[in-house]
């Protein structure tokens, strides 16, 4: 059995009031109370909860319309039935306008109709209250969606965007006014690739895109189909979270790991170089100094002078190579200065030129002589050229072609850029690898070049010099790594 309806009869005529109570109690599940004037009405409403108030129009301390207004003003959630005398229908109409749910005219049999009228008013009131709660719930949920940090975009089955929250505005840089009502496909073509929509459950992906400003953007996105009560898909909701910072950090960490691996190798080379330098410096001292002493002992016309001079030159060349190796393996300092790019190229060639020629590859150099200085770190740039040259060598070393070349060019490019091209005619890099060639690959060489780490290091060095590195590889023109550096 449901709870009884609580009814407050507001009626100054006590006989009428008692009769109304009796009619209701006989008719069904009602609990009734009586208030005889407006003051008592408000006192009771303030003290207890009622489902329905039957409000007589004529009361000793005021009229029913004013009392109705007051009930509304105080925010009571109660169904009001206005009770008027015969001929007061105009009052009844006004009462309905001001929020009464129904009215009853005091005619001979009005009491017999009262229970049904009260029940109907109570039901209407319950429906209205439920509606109100639903509306509030909807508003609340909309507010939640608007205030979550994740971007929420919803579109219907026609692909039309129907919802775009504030976080989406923030994340993508586009307002709801831009995209609401427009095709989701256009939107995602602009922002980021859309994952497949066929799935029934949520699909979580990490996607790459761009903000309105063109800035790089990474999102972790959860795409969920929306279902109606009959479990039919009615649209999709895409919830995206900004993970750009994390992605960039990951890239930096990867580059850092590559650097560490390279640094460890360099440290090993350094130790080796240090030992070699020491062991070799004494015999080189003997070779050079004794040759110099001999030369001074020989007359200027002696035919052996030429050979001795060649020995001395050879000694100095060996000395220079050892010093370069020592310098190269020394930990790089962070100091930057104006430097000659051609000079750093020269140092790199001193180090690895022999390795290139040893495998039968010809190194052609064309260095522009009028290049202005570049602000940078000598050691890092030497590393850059050494890496690029050794990778070019890797690509050419098992080629069976009779003539193999590495071409190294430095020249002034457009505007304030200095450009260095390292070209080889070895195995080209497959097109599908070109896009990711600068990403560190800990698994091994990329397209047979290096160890998989060098190119990410090259990119990092170039980045630290505010420059750009690009690659172009075709079977006809070979592979060219181009480095652009800003000139001073």
């Amino acid at each position: 059995m449901t709870d009884p309806l609580r009814v407050l009869i507001v009626e100054d005529n006590e006989d009428h009031a008692r009769l109304a109570c009796e009619f209701l109690q006989v008719a069904g599940n009602f609990v009734t109370e009586i208030a005889t004037d407006v003051a008592e009405l408000h006192a009771r409403l303030a003290a207890s909860r009622y489902d329905v108030v039957t409000l007589d129009y004529n009361l000793p301390d005021g009229n029913g319309l004013a009392a109705l207004q007051e009930i509304n003003a105080r925010g009571h959630s109660v169904a009001v039935i206005m009770v008027t005398g015969r001929g007061d229908e105009r009052v009844a109409a006004q009462a309905i306008q001001r929020g009464a749910l129904d009215y009853v005219v005091k005619t001979g049999d009005y009491l017999s109709m009262l229970p049904a009228t009260v029940q109907k008013a109570a039901r209407t009131q319950a429906i209205m209250a439920a509606n109100q709660r639903s509306l509030e719930q909807i508003r609340y949920q909309a507010l939640l969606l608007d205030n979550v940090h994740d971007a929420v975009v919803v579109w219907d089955l026609a692909g039309t965007i129907t919802f775009w929250n504030r976080a989406a505005e923030h994340l993508f840089g586009w307002g709801a006014d831009t995209w609401l009502g427009r095709p989701a496909v256009d939107c995602y073509r602009t922002l980021a690739d859309l994952p497949p929509l066929e799935r029934t459950g949520p699909v979580t992906t990490e996607r790459h895109g761009r903000r309105r400003t063109g800035e790089e953007l990474w999102v972790s996105s959860s795409l969920t189909p929306l279902h109606d009560a009959a479990d039919q898909v009615i649209g999709y909701m895409d919830v995206s979270r900004d993970i750009t910072a994390r992605k960039q950090l990951e890239a930096q960490i990867q580059a850092g790991q590559a650097h560490l691996a390279q640094a460890a190798r360099l440290a090993a080379i350094g130790e080796l170089a240090s030992g070699v330098a020491h062991q070799i410096s004494n015999p080189l001292t003997t070779i050079i100094a004794e040759t110099q002493l001999l030369l001074r002992a020989l007359p200027a016309s002696d035919p052996n002078r030429e050979a001795l001079e060649a020995i001395e030159r050879g000694g100095w060349r060996a000395q220079e190579a050892v010093q370069r190796l020592l310098d190269f393996s020394r930990p790089a300092s962070g100091t930057r200065a104006d430097l000659s790019v051609n000079e750093t190229i020269g140092h790199a060639v001193t180090l690895v030129g022999g390795l290139i020629e040893a495998v039968g590859v010809k190194l052609d150099m064309a260095l522009a002589s009028d290049l202005p200085p570049v602000h940078g770190n000598t050691r890092q740039l030497e590393d850059l050229w050494v890496n690029l040259l050794l990778m070019a060598r890797d690509a050419t070393d098992d080629d069976t072609a009779p003539e193999r070349h590495i071409r190294l060019r430095s020249y002034r490019a457009a505007d304030q850029w200095l450009r260095v091209d390292v070209n080889d005619d070895g195995r080209p890099i497959p097109a599908e690898q070109l896009a990711t060639i600068f990403e560190p690959d800990f698994a091994g060489p990329v397209a047979g070049r290096g160890t998989g780490l060098e190119l990410s290091i090259c990119r990092e060095i170039v980045r630290q010099h505010a420059g750009q590195i690009t690659v172009d590889s075709t079977p006809d023109h070979g592979t060219t790594f181009s480095v652009l550096l800003p000139m001073r």
Partner: protein, 145 residues
């Protein structure tokens, strides 16, 4: 010129061939070269002979040349002891360490040009420049000074 009047130059290196070369170069100058192959011997000779100049290989494998220099300086009463360091590591960092931190008077890479060595020694001892060395057999070697 008698031995007593010539300034003593103590040469310290672990390589006997280098010592021999130093000796040959110094023989052309009005100095008295003394050769020390071991560090203990070097410390003894430094204390006993009070050399004006020490030519020292600071990259010997067994002992730090810098350590030896500290020992010699500690027992050397003469404030005008000159030091010329030889180093297999002739880069700028090493050079800066030698001249600024160890406060030696001259620094040369190893191998070295003998004419340059003779010129440096003469300058350090305020001797006239060694004229007969001014025409090197190979013009302008690319090596470090």
């Amino acid at each position: 010129m008698s031995t007593e009047n010539k300034p003593i130059v103590l040469c310290v290196d672990d390589d006997p061939r280098t010592l021999e070369i130093l000796s040959k170069v110094l023989d052309r100058l009005p100095v008295e070269p003394v050769l020390a192959q071991g560090t203990r011997q070097a410390a003894d000779l430094a204390q006993r002979l009070q050399p004006r100049l020490i030519i020292l290989d600071v990259t010997m494998p067994e002992v730090s040349g810098w350590q030896l220099l500290q020992t010699i300086r500690g027992s050397h009463p003469r404030a005008n002891l000159r030091v010329l360091a030889l180093s297999a590591k002739a880069n700028s960092a090493e050079r800066s360490l030698a001249t600024n931190v160890a406060r030696i008077d001259a620094f040369m890479g190893k191998p070295f040009d003998i004419a340059e060595l003779a010129r440096r020694v003469a300058a350090l001892l305020e001797l006239p420049p060694p004229g007969e060395w001014s025409n090197p057999g190979v013009p302008g070697p690319a090596g470090p000074e």
